[in-house]
């Protein structure tokens, strides 16, 4: 049940109706049942996996709180992390490993494959679960006593399959001190759901058609301009797709009285790669920072170890996205760029101040990020290299984007700049009803005219 389907909106309407018409004591049960139903519509068998991980980490949390510091406590933590990473590793990375072992043995890559179905959203809910256990271990989070509450934290349907990765310290206060959403929150929630849907169907899916056309037929689409337009189309697709999903998730959570953290902050306006990662998939980048980069030593042990830690973090971040060398290279590419930036910048903090140089820096950063997306989107390494070659050499080619694609991108850019400088979203939420309604109407009209309706293009991050 994709977020951009009629079925999902019927489901959401039913959940909201049941939620608000039920006594408070029943509401968390309704959300839990709805979340398992939502997950089950994809593959009900994997609810067992979800329940197993929930049980393991719920129990681990309780143990960790009871056991005093020492090896036993550490053993519980390791057991929990092993279980999470074990499931994640098996479902997500087994065949990748098997393919490389087979190739090393001189056999065909597929010869050792197992027929494994990747459970939906496993990368997200395992990371969310692990963050809880680690926080309890560190004493930053109290163990949750009520198993229903914990299960809901893991499987809450708005963010179950593609995040944002919500920390326990953000989720449980909303659950335990639940208050009916204010009219401001409802306005925000409704607007974000509509905005997310528009981003997905009118922007991402239109750019997806261009990107799929390019990456699906490289031989038939030679040329530098062609390659750049195909790659930029994918760059725009993935942003609108993922941030659209996130907006919908945040909006739906608001309608249910929950407040999710920001996950995107206009990443393509970033002035550096460091800035980009402060704006892109923020819940993952902060997770990697808190649970990987800092435990590895962060920047506390000298320059070279900082670079090493950056590389390791980004390599693992790349691998988190998918089991392929391409994702590793994508992660490594960003790790290398971050390291180079760090080397050039030294210990000076990253500036987000808009100067006359800012547009140039943003364009360069955008270009570098686009090159990285080649590895993210291409089917395999040879195809990635072919695209890279096309980006930097060969015939001129032709623009794959139509003028209205460019129009959509320009409108989005202007809105992003306006949000960055003028905070239009908050101003709109504060504006008279007629202004809010007009903005919503225009947005929905854009969805009507540009929304890809008859072809269902899945959210990109659903595969992770």
């Amino acid at each position: 049940m994709l977020f951009n389907t009629t079925h999902f909106f019927i489901f959401l309407a039913v959940v909201l109706a049941l939620f608000y018409s039920s006594p408070r004591v029943l509401r968390r049960y309704i959300l839990l049942a709805a979340s398992y139903f939502f997950y089950g519509t994809w593959n009900y068998k994997f609810i067992i996996l979800l329940l197993t991980l929930t049980a393991i980490d719920y129990t681990a949390g309780l143990w960790l709180e009871r056991i005093p510091a020492g090896p036993r406590r550490k053993a519980v933590l390791i057991m929990s992390l092993t279980a999470n990473l074990g499931f994640l590793g098996f479902f997500k990375y087994f065949n990748f490993l098997a393919a490389n072992v087979a190739l090393a043995m001189g056999k065909p890559a597929h010869s050792l494959f197992w027929d494994i179905v990747l459970p939906l959203g496993i990368s997200f809910h395992t990371f969310q679960s692990m963050s809880y256990v680690v926080d309890v271990y560190r004493g930053q989070q109290k163990a949750v006593r009520n198993v229903i509450d914990y299960a809901l934290y893991i499987c809450f349907f708005p963010q179950l399959v593609a995040g944002p990765i919500v920390r326990a310290r953000n989720f449980f206060p909303d659950l335990w001190n639940w208050r009916a959403p204010s009219s401001g929150d409802v306005s925000r929630g409704l607007f974000l759901v509509a905005l997310g849907l528009t981003k997905k169907m009118a922007f991402a899916d239109q750019f997806a058609k261009v990107a799929n056309n390019y990456f699906g037929n490289l031989a038939g689409n030679p040329g530098v301009v062609t390659a750049w337009s195909g790659v930029v189309a994918f760059g725009l697709q993935i942003y609108f797709d993922f941030s659209g999903y996130t907006d919908m998730a945040i909006g739906m959570a608001l309608l249910l009285g929950f407040h999710f953290p920001v996950n995107f902050r206009r990443p393509y306006l970033a002035s550096s790669i460091t800035d980009f990662w402060r704006r892109w998939h923020i819940s993952l980048s902060t997770w990697l920072r808190d649970y990987l980069y800092i435990p590895l030593g962060g920047n506390r042990h000298g320059r070279w170890k900082t670079y090493r830690n950056l590389m390791l973090t980004m390599l693992l971040g790349g691998l988190w996205h998918g089991a392929s060398w391409n994702f590793m290279i994508w992660g490594g590419y960003h790790g290398a760029l971050l390291s180079v930036e760090r080397l050039l910048r030294g210990d000076r903090p990253v500036s987000e101040r808009w100067t006359w140089l800012y547009p140039l820096q943003a364009v360069v950063t955008f270009g570098l990020v686009m090159i990285g997306w080649v590895f993210f989107r291409a089917a395999d390494l040879p195809q990635s290299l072919q695209v890279i070659r096309q980006l930097f050499g060969g015939p001129r080619g032709h623009l794959l984007l139509e003028p209205w694609h460019i129009g959509l991108a320009v409108v989005a850019l202007l809105l992003a700049i306006a949000e960055e400088k003028l905070d239009w979203f908050e101003r709109l939420m504060d504006a008279p009803v007629i202004a809010y309604a007009s903005a919503m109407a225009v947005m929905l009209f854009v969805l009507e005219i540009f929304g890809v309706i008859d072809v269902r293009i899945p959210f990109i991050y659903f595969q992770f």
């Binding site: 204010s182 945040i250 407040h259 920001v262 992003a416 109407a441 225009v442 005219i449 929304g451 309706i453």
Partner: protein, 403 residues
């Protein structure tokens, strides 16, 4: 590149406190706004005047407007023909007959349409139901044979008539589709027409000036082009079908489209007879006939030449004959079933279902003659004609000579 207004995590409402129902009111206003914008663009002709003429909607509109315009100068003895691509004839051939034809033929047929589209075409062309002496409907058979093709679920009808679909039409139009997904698509598209026009709009936005120039060109030339159009001279001479095995022997040089049309239209086994075609015909021909009830306009059904080699009569046990049933209604006439049988020869067809140029020429002459024979000589309407809102004159000559 982000219109992304990410929310600040906040448990407390930000901004001016609003009433509890303000979000609901705002959403209702927003929905009204979307419908308003949609109506402004797509229900006023503001955009539909610039539709791509080669699209389904554009072609339908082009033909409809041509016929509306023609009413101003085409006289009073008009006969309107409606059908799909199988109802191919030449008005020019009729006009050039040595003996001046009794009636002026106008062709509102659109390739790929069904009686569902014809109903809306008629409603727009003839709002007074008095503009034409007769409406001639070309049909494949007076009996009902269910084939693989289910006209009820032909979504092309939505695309043909979308510009003319009113809000009040949407429920009935949607219900006429039997497939639930299509019904939903029709509801959606009927209420928000921009969804149906989307590909047209995107193409328009790709090069607006080119579109405008092309539409202008078509406006000026379409009537002439369609009048002077000469169909293919290719023929199916040499075609043979063994009806016991459905084995087809094609003449040399037959292309894939021709082969497909023979195998899909003619040489196929019987489909289960569920009565869906009869239901569809009763619904939409029924609506057309209802519309002309009490009108001086005659509704004439004509069975078109069935193909280069017609399917044997006993091949399918047909369970009903909806069009024969309709002959009992006042004002409805069925042309003799076998009147065009002489044209059912391979040398007069360009493929398995369409007449070629020679076939069209002969059919045009026969069509004019048969229509004149059914209607008889036109009566003088001096003093009886009155101004018609669509232009020209409406006539009011009740006729009784029904066959």
């Amino acid at each position: 590149m982000s219109p992304c207004p990410e929310p600040v995590k906040s448990a407390a409402p930000i901004g001016r406190p609003r009433g509890r129902f303000a979000p609901v009111l705002a959403c209702l206003l927003a929905v009204a706004g979307v419908f308003g914008l949609d109506a402004l663009l797509f229900r006023t002709g503001l955009y539909t005047a610039w539709l791509q003429p080669d699209s389904s909607t554009g072609l339908f509109e082009m033909i409809l407007r041509r016929e509306q315009r023609s009413q101003e100068k085409a006289g009073n003895n008009l006969v309107l023909t409606l059908g799909n691509s199988r109802f191919g004839y030449s008005r020019k051939v009729i006009d050039q007959l040595p003996v001046k034809p009794l009636y002026t033929f106008r062709d509102a047929g659109v390739a790929g349409t069904t009686p569902r589209s014809w109903y809306y075409m008629l409603r727009e062309i003839d709002p007074t139901v008095r503009r034409y002496r007769a409406v001639v409907l070309g049909v494949d058979d007076y009996d009902d044979e269910d084939r693989y093709y289910n006209p009820s679920n032909d979504v092309r009808d939505l695309h043909y008539v979308i510009a003319r679909l009113r809000l009040g039409d949407v429920p009935e139009f949607a219900q006429s589709f039997t497939d639930a997904d299509l019904r939903w698509a029709v509801w959606r598209g009927g209420l928000l027409k921009g969804i149906i026009f989307q590909s047209d709009i995107l193409e328009f936005l790709t090069n607006p000036l080119k579109r405008i120039a092309y539409v202008e060109l078509c406006r000026q030339g379409f009537a002439g082009w369609s009048y002077d159009f000469l169909d293919s001279t290719r023929s199916m001479t040499g075609l043979q079908i063994d009806w016991s095995t459905y084995k087809i022997t094609f003449p040399p040089g037959t292309d894939e489209d021709q082969r497909d049309s023979v195998s899909s239209w003619l040489a196929h086994g019987p489909e289960p007879q569920t009565g869906r075609l009869a239901a569809f015909r009763r619904a939409w021909f029924g609506r057309i006939i209802d519309r002309y009830q009490g009108s001086p306009t005659r509704v004439i059904f004509m069975r078109l030449p069935r193909g280069p080699i017609p399917r044997p009569d006993g091949l399918v046990k047909k369970r009903s004959a909806s069009i024969r049933e309709m002959a009992a209604r006042p004002n409805v006439v069925l042309a003799p079933e076998h009147v065009f049988d002489a044209l059912e020869r391979p040398e007069l067809f360009k493929d398995g279902m369409h007449l070629n140029r020679e076939g069209i020429n002969r059919f045009s002459v026969m069509l004019a003659a048969e229509t004149a024979r059914i209607l008889g000589p036109p009566e003088h309407d001096t003093g009886q004609a009155k101004a018609c809102p669509t232009g020209g004159a409406c006539f009011s000559l009740p006729r009784q000579d029904k066959r």
